[in-house]
Symmetry: C2
Subunit: 275 residues, 2 copies
C-alpha cells in the first residue's frame, strides 16, 4: 500500500517538486528522495534537505518506485519520451503539469513498462524555485488526478490536499476557465492600462489586485497556451459574450441579477477553497 | 489658509466620511466636526469620537466652513439640490462620490452661495460603515479634485493623500478603466464560474483573487453605472477588443509581447501606488 514506496524520484526540483518532497517527509514518508535537476537547484535542494541525493534522470528513474515529473510542460513531454526504458516494470509515473491532455496523450503513447497517472496540484506561489518550496503548499488545495490510483491518492490525501478525479479533457476545460482565463483577463487589463494615458495616477486597490497576475512570467505560460489553446479559446469566447451582456445591462435592468449570480460563483469557489 | 476652517460638516458618516473626519483630526484639525447621518450611524460615530456632535443637514450646513458630502451618488445629488440656501456665502462644498460629471454638473446648476469642488479619494476597504473608519485610509492614495482649491488641497495633502487635479469628464473616463472595468470583469468571471459545472472544485488562487470584487454589493454600483454608463461602455468595448487580440495571439506569435506590455502597465500602477 502507501507504505510500499521506498524510493521517490522528483524530476524538476522547483517550487512544486520541492514542495512535494517536503510534504511527503512531513506526512511521514521514510524512504529515499532522489532529485533530478540543474546543478544550481540541486545544491540548494541538498542544503535545504529537500532531497536526499541527486542523480541523472536515467539512474533516478531506474531506482524509483514513483517518479514525480515537476518540470515545465514541454520538458515533461520530453522526459516522457525518454524515460520508459529506464524504469522497472510497474513503476508509477505521475506529473504536476498545468495542462493534462497533451501530457496524458503522450504518456499513453510512450509509457509501456511504467504506469502513468496525470496530476495537477492547484497550488502555487508568486515566487518560484526550490528556495520557496513549502511542505504545506498543497494543504486544502485541490489535487487533480486523471485516473484513480490507490497509492497515489493516499499520499495526496496525506499531504493535506483534496483528491479530484477528472479526465484530462475535463481538467483542461475547467482550468481554462478557472486559471488560464483569469491570467489572460489580467493581462488584457494590464495592457489596457499601459496604453491609457494617465491611468496610473488614479490607481486604486481594484486595479492593483486585478493586475497582479499580469506580472506573471510568460515562460510558464507559453507551454500552457500551446497545449491548451482550444479550451482557452472557448473560455475567452464565452467570457466575451458575458461582457457583451453586461454592456447591454449597463443601460437596462438586470445588472443586479448579474451581481447576484457572480457573487454566488465567487462564494462557491471560497466554499470549497477556504483560503 | 488651511487653518481657517473652524467647523467641518460631514454628510454621510460611513467609511469614507468617517475616515475623512478621523484623518483631519490626526492631521491636526482643531475645530468642530459635525456629522449628518442616520441615528444608528451617529451613535457609533459619537462613541468612536469620529464626530463631535450630530445635527440635521440644514443646521450642519449653516454652521460649516466646509461641507463634506460622503453619501452614495444619488444621495449626493439630492443633497446638492437642497443645500445651497442653507449655507453661508463662500462655504466650500466638496464630495467623495465615485463619479464626477453628474455631480459637478448638478453643483454647477444648483450651488450659488457656496462654491463646489468635486472630489474622489481613490481609497476603500472591503468592509463599510463608520465602524471601519480609519485615519490612514487615504495615506499615499490618489485624491482627485475636479478644480484647484488651495485650502482643500492643503488638507488633502495633510491627510497623506496625493492630490490629482482632473476635470470631471477626464476623471470619469479614467475611473471607468481603472475601477469600473475591473469590477465588471470580476463580475463576468464570477458569473462564468457560477454557470460552469464543476468549476469550484478546481478553484486555485488566481480565480479566488480575480473574483473578490464580484462579491461587492450592487447597491454601491447601481449609481456608478447610472452616472457613468458612457465611459464604462467605451472601456468595455476596448477591453473586448483586447481579448479578441489575445484570442488571435493564442495560436500565433505575439503573446509574449502582450505579457510584456501588461506587466509594464501593472508595474506603472504600483510605481505610483506602493501598496
Amino acid at each position: 500500500m502507501a507504505n510500499g514506496w521506498s524510493t521517490v524520484s522528483v524530476v524538476g526540483v522547483g517550487l512544486i517538486g520541492g514542495s512535494f518532497a517536503l510534504a511527503l517527509r512531513k506526512a511521514g514518508f521514510r524512504g529515499k528522495i532522489i532529485g533530478v535537476s540543474s546543478a544550481a537547484t540541486i545544491r540548494v535542494a541538498l542544503e535545504r534537505r529537500v532531497i536526499d541525493e541527486a542523480l541523472p534522470l536515467r539512474d533516478a528513474a531506474a531506482q524509483a518506485d514513483i517518479i514525480y515529473l515537476a518540470q515545465p510542460i514541454q520538458r515533461i513531454l520530453e522526459t516522457i519520451d525518454q524515460i520508459d526504458d529506464c524504469v522497472r516494470p510497474g513503476t508509477l509515473i505521475t506529473d504536476a503539469g498545468s495542462t493534462k491532455a497533451a501530457i496524458v496523450g503522450r504518456a499513453r503513447e510512450r509509457i509501456r513498462r511504467g504506469r502513468f497517472v496525470g496530476g495537477h496540484p492547484m497550488a502555487g506561489k508568486q515566487s518560484r524555485g526550490v528556495a520557496e518550496a513549502d511542505a504545506d503548499l498543497f494543504y486544502r488545495r485541490p489535487y487533480v488526478l486523471t485516473s484513480r490510483d490507490e497509492e497515489l491518492e493516499e499520499w495526496v490525501r496525506r499531504i493535506g490536499a483534496r483528491v479530484v478525479i477528472l479526465n484530462a479533457e475535463e481538467h483542461d476545460r475547467l482550468v481554462a476557465l478557472i486559471s488560464h482565463l483569469p491570467q489572460l483577463i489580467s493581462t488584457a487589463l494590464g495592457e489596457s492600462i499601459a496604453q491609457a494615458d494617465g491611468a496610473a495616477k488614479v490607481a486604486g486597490p481594484a486595479a492593483i489586485e486585478m493586475t497582479r497576475l499580469a506580472m506573471s512570467p510568460y515562460e510558464i505560460w507559453r507551454d500552457i497556451f500551446s497545449t491548451n489553446a482550444g479550451p482557452i479559446d472557448d473560455a475567452l469566447e464565452k467570457f466575451i459574450e458575458k461582457l457583451q451582456e453586461l454592456r447591454e445591462r449597463l443601460r437596462t435592468d438586470g445588472m443586479g441579477e448579474a451581481f447576484d449570480c457572480a457573487a454566488a460563483g465567487a462564494r462557491a469557489l471560497r466554499g470549497v477553497e477556504l483560503l
